[in-house]
């Protein structure tokens, strides 16, 4: 029925005719971007999962070790609260990441390049959409909208996060704390508290920004993982999309808990006590490195 209907409407000379389509197919001079439209779109989808999504899982796993590290720390050499033990485990994780992973610089370049690519194209693609959640308030439509909002805010958050904790833009950090790798836990705690003299309003604002940023980015990843399965054609039927939705919700929930756990523990921890632990660990490390056996 549809074939008859469409064929009937495609009358020659009409505005909707085959003529028009053929004309545009032969006459068009496509740009590089248009010729490889599919490739760019699929790269945008892929980079969200690999490497960005995989990195996000690792990043939150490492950071949340401050909250659960006390359970995993093999020997506790000092008597200290659980979050100091957690931070010690975190210190070891950070050190391991920075010294043991091969080609770390290449991995970082690939990661930053992917985030840049995913952001630029993501914003460009998001500009083609519109908002109609007021009229069509379906859950899926809200997730569509939130995916775009979380993308926009996520870019700003990642920029702030990297600029302050990596590039050392201390003018954006209340209290002017300089983050350093060897003292990652204590300097992060100072950043989230706004300085060494208790929690300040500016510190609270930074913590809130982190809470919103982490929450939105975890949602963005979990929901993106769900839509990517449709994009690539992995989940076809409504039932399979629902099942994959449960899996993505599960992963998102676990990541969300990990993100919140890290944030609350770092913000609530006493920076002085963390610094004490870090100095102890750095000294211990220096001794190990200086020993003839280590050489």
């Amino acid at each position: 029925m549809v074939s008859c209907r469409s064929a009937g409407l495609l009358r020659p000379g009409g505005t909707t005719g085959i003529h028009h389509v053929m004309q545009s197919a032969t006459a068009s001079k496509e740009s590089f971007f248009q010729r490889h439209y599919f490739l760019f779109r699929r790269l945008h989808s892929l980079t969200g999962i690999l490497p960005i999504g995989v990195f996000l899982i690792n990043h939150l796993l490492t950071n949340s070790s401050v909250a659960w590290g006390a359970l995993a720390l093999r020997e506790k050499t000092v008597d200290a609260p659980w979050w100091v033990h957690g931070a010690e485990y975190f210190w070891r994780e950070v050190r391991w990441l920075n010294t043991q992973i091969p080609n770390l610089l290449l991995i970082e370049i690939a990661l930053w390049g992917s985030i840049l690519f995913h952001s630029v194209f993501g914003v460009y693609y998001a500009m083609t959409g519109s908002v109609n959640t007021a009229r069509y308030a379906y859950q899926g439509n809200w997730r569509y909208r939130l995916q775009r909002i979380s993308g926009y805010i996520g870019i700003l958050f990642i920029f702030y996060h990297v600029a302050t904790l990596r590039w050392g833009w201390t003018f954006l950090v209340p209290g002017g704390t300089v983050w350093s790798q060897e003292f990652a836990a204590s300097t992060l705690a100072l950043t989230l508290r706004g300085g060494s003299s208790g929690v300040t309003a500016a510190g609270l604002a930074v913590s809130l920004a982190y809470f919103i940023g982490v929450t939105l980015l975890v949602f963005h990843f979990a929901n993106g993982l769900w839509t990517a399965a449709i994009t690539w054609g992995l989940t076809i039927s409504e039932a399979s999309q629902r099942r994959w939705g449960y899996a993505c919700t599960g992963l998102g929930t676990v990541l969300m808990i990990m993100g919140w756990m890290s944030l609350f523990t770092f913000a609530a921890a006493d920076p002085a006590k963390l610094r004490e632990m870090e100095e102890r660990m750095t000294q211990k490390q220096a001794m190990v490195s200086a020993s003839p056996i280590a050489r």
Binding site: M1, V2, S3, R5, S6, A7, L9, L10, T15, T16, G17, I18, H20, V21, S24, S28, Q34, Y37, F38, L39, R41, R42, Y125, T128, G129, S130, V131, N132, R135, Y136, Y138, G140, N141, R143, Y144, R145, Q147, T227, I230, T231, W232, G233, L234, T235, I236, S237, E238, Q241
Partner: protein
């Protein structure tokens, strides 16, 4: 369906009047304005029968005599798609929109707007040319034209028939496009080939790619769908499947085409074309 709506209809008040708030527009490019009409509701009235009443007596609630409201209609049994409009903020066919369900009480209000994703011709009548143009973009037909009799086509199995039947019930009404946040008004037909194609065309491409004879054009359809405004412009809001009056699994079709384009791209990469 009749069992589900029966209790609502039984509750409808007999002899009531209902207000129709209608977004009017005198022609393309002209400004829109709301007008209100008060209509006595006979038994089993639908939106079209009320529009007929307005046409017979086009007097607004403030006593102004105006031009009759223009609308498009065809079959009057929800199979042609011509009378699609936005009723109480949501898109649907007006012929199957029963007043007893939408406005069961005295003084209830029903709002009527033209679809927003197509250029308005006049009042509730829109030009859906782009919808049909997009079907042509994916060659949504079976290629049988030629200089000699091709004979009978290959047989379809009952199983594939069952899948195809529901896809073939698409009436090109435009509901999926009206509700889609990725499909937006594009009055300039020069941009139609690069603007989002819409769920209806993607679903028809799936139908004809799966058709024993229609699949001859599968590669061409997938090439078209891989370009700008094709399958990748879908944002997975999935409003389309929610508003489809024919309950066509549009999101399933989108995923099927997603898979077909993935495989097509891999094949193209290694084949070199």
């Amino acid at each position: 369906m009749s069992t589900a709506t029966a209790p609502v209809r039984r509750n409808a008040k007999v002899g009531r009047h209902v207000f129709f708030r209608i977004l009017r527009c005198e022609g393309p490019g002209k400004p829109s304005q709301w007008q209100e009409f008060r209509i006595p509701i006979p038994e089993n009235a639908n939106v079209i029968s009320c529009l007929q009443q307005i046409a017979a007596n086009p007097v607004t609630t403030d006593g102004q005599t105006v031009t009759p409201v223009v609308w498009d209609a065809g079959c009057l049994e929800e199979v042609c798609g011509a009378c699609t409009m936005v009723i109480n903020g949501k898109v649907r066919q007006s012929c199957s929109c029963l007043i007893d369900e939408y406005a069961p009480n005295e003084g209830d209000v029903i709002t009527l707007e033209p679809m927003s994703k197509f250029p308005v011709v006049r009042d509730l009548w829109v030009d859906r040319s782009r919808l049909f143009h997009n079907l042509a973009r994916v060659k949504a037909w079976v290629p049988i034209d030629g200089t000699y009799d091709l004979g009978a086509g290959p047989k379809e199995t009952p199983a594939s028939q069952a899948t195809h039947y529901v896809l073939s019930t698409c009436m090109s009404c435009g509901c999926c496009l009206e509700a889609c946040p990725q499909f937006n008004l594009e009055p300039d037909s020069a941009n139609w080939d690069t603007a989002f194609i819409g769920a209806h065309a993607i679903s028809q491409a799936r139908l004809f790619n799966d058709h024993p004879t229609g699949r001859e054009l599968k590669d061409e359809r997938l090439d078209a769908l891989m370009g700008e405004g094709g399958i990748n412009d879908c944002g997975n809001a999935q409003n389309c499947v929610k508003v489809c009056p024919k309950h066509i699994p549009l999101t399933e079709s989108i995923a099927v085409i997603g898979r077909q384009t993935t495989m097509h791209a891999i094949a193209q990469f290694f084949r070199g074309r």
